[in-house]
């Protein structure tokens, strides 16, 4: 097992993350595993947006989604020695983010029995995004996750099946039912 370097680079200078834009994922991960701070920053910068969007789609609360995504990234990057850099990183990250978001959503639903994910103090979002978030909140979390992975993250059915740990057919039915339910919810919202 490759030992992590004890030395930690000086904080990256402005633009260093940009300089890594041409690095492949594998190169960045190897450098991060070897202790490169700038490589770690570049990984977060490269993968944050889509991961955060997935968590937001599942949870409906941007603050909680941000926490879940940060925790997921930290969990992975602090244990990179366990990751095979030959494997694609992003699907693995999304799997962890999705599962954590789903776990969080389930736990919240059991504890709070809330009917909507929109928190009273949440900054108002321009329509129709707020309506969409509310409608997503009405879906069972399993359907929500499948729909988010399909349309927010852009994954195919096979990839979603791997991420969620279910059969391909299950993914298809969850997406179908999720879309149907979303349309009903949005029609009800609009009267």
């Amino acid at each position: 097992m490759a030992e992590l370097s004890e030395a930690w680079e000086q904080p990256a200078q402005p633009g260093q993350a940009d300089a890594r834009r041409d690095h492949t994922d594998r190169e960045l991960l190897r450098e991060a595993r070897a202790g490169s701070r700038s490589a770690t920053e570049a990984i977060v910068e490269r993968y944050w947006d889509k991961a955060h969007r997935i968590a937001f789609g599942v949870l409906g609360d941007r603050h909680i989604a941000e926490d879940v995504t940060q925790e997921s990234m930290l969990s992975i990057l602090a244990n990179l020695s366990r990751f095979d850099t030959r494997r694609p990183f992003e699907p693995w990250l999304h799997r962890i983010v999705t599962n954590r978001a789903v776990d969080w959503a389930r736990a919240r639903e059991r504890r709070e029995k809330v009917a909507t994910l929109v928190q009273p103090n949440q900054q108002q979002q321009p329509l129709p995004q707020q309506e969409l978030v509310e409608a997503l909140g009405a879906l069972p979390v399993e359907q929500r996750a499948a729909v988010v992975l399909r349309y927010v993250a852009g994954y195919g059915t096979n990839e979603i099946a791997r991420i969620l740990g279910v059969q391909r057919g299950t993914v298809g039915s969850r997406i179908r039912r999720g879309l149907d339910r979303l349309r009903i919810e949005l029609e009800d919202q609009n009267g």
Binding site: E41, D103, Y151, V166
Partner: protein, 284 residues
């Protein structure tokens, strides 16, 4: 709203102030990784010089399956190596907690070793643990070692073959040495040991096929401990098993012939049983 409009709206869904969140994450995650590196425990060698008796373990069905995470790193040498805590061949991450949980049981004071590690779906880690269990009523007569699954992030420790700990249930027979465990209310899994002759393992929970992680335990570790016969370890995480259900496991050989199969009910969350409770005042 027609479906195409709905799909378009979904594809552009994003939280407010995404860029600001990204900037915060770069700083927070990088700082967190640095803290984790600075507080990483020093490597510790497991106890040496113990007499390792030849032990025969319960042969369970082995089903091969592509691992979702890299298998536990092979230990190229056993004797004389300094092996890290929480790594195959080393001491469990939960050594201190395990000592308190095991106090008063037949396993109290026995050394424990990590055989394999992996990741849970939520990004945490698990460790397959082996320890000698002398005289426990639950231990099978032919088994010198007992096997458990630790989830250091929970933290939790569940029995697979013998010994009883909080939040664990033993439900398997018919050739699968293993059981069902949970960490808190969230993480359910079924795990067990299987022989090396099986080529695939299928696990279904309420008739829904699950991803299965399968790891071959390195010979160096098993031989170093005197665990025979060699085996593989499988684990599948159950989605939302709080309401209970049924787990079906099937092992097949390289020719796709069924070697063994079992079907076991999983009781609802509250019925899994407390097992042996940690002594009052033990650390959480």
């Amino acid at each position: 709203m027609d479906e195409s409009t709905l799909v378009r709206a979904l594809t552009v869904l994003e939280p407010p102030e995404l860029e600001a969140a990204r900037a915060r994450a770069i700083e927070a995650v990088t700082a967190g990784v640095q803290r984790a590196r600075n507080t990483r425990p020093k490597d510790a060698s497991p106890s040496r010089g113990r007499t390792l008796l030849v032990a025969s373990t319960v042969m369970a069905v082995l089903v091969g399956f592509a691992t979702l995470t890299p298998p536990g790193k092979a230990v190229t040498t056993w004797v004389g190596e300094g092996l890290g805590i929480g790594h195959p061949g080393g001491a469990p991450t939960l050594s201190q907690l395990r000592s308190s949980w095991l106090r008063g049981t037949a396993a109290s004071g026995e050394p424990a070793y990590v055989l394999a590690t992996g990741q849970t779906p939520s990004g945490g880690s698990y460790e397959l643990i082996a320890y000698k269990n002398h005289g426990a009523k639950e231990a099978k007569p032919s088994s010198e070692y007992c096997f458990e699954l630790d989830l250091p992030d929970a933290p939790s420790s569940s029995s697979l073959d013998c010994g009883v700990f909080p939040n664990s249930g033993r439900i398997y027979d018919n050739g699968f040495g293993g059981g069902v465990g949970r960490a808190g209310d969230e993480t359910f899994y079924t795990a067990g040991r299987v022989g090396r002759n099986a080529a695939s393992v299928e696990v279904e929970f309420n008739q829904e096929a699950l991803n299965v992680q399968l790891q071959r335990i390195p010979d160096e570790i098993l031989q170093g401990l005197g665990i025979e016969p060699a085996f593989k370890f499988f684990i599948a995480f159950l989605p939302d098993a709080a309401a209970g259900g049924t787990v079906d496991i099937t092992a097949r050989d390289a020719n796709n012939n069924v070697i063994a199969t079992t079907s076991a009910p999983i009781p609802p969350l509250g019925d899994l049983g407390p097992g042996i409770q940690p002594p009052a005042g033990s650390p959480e």
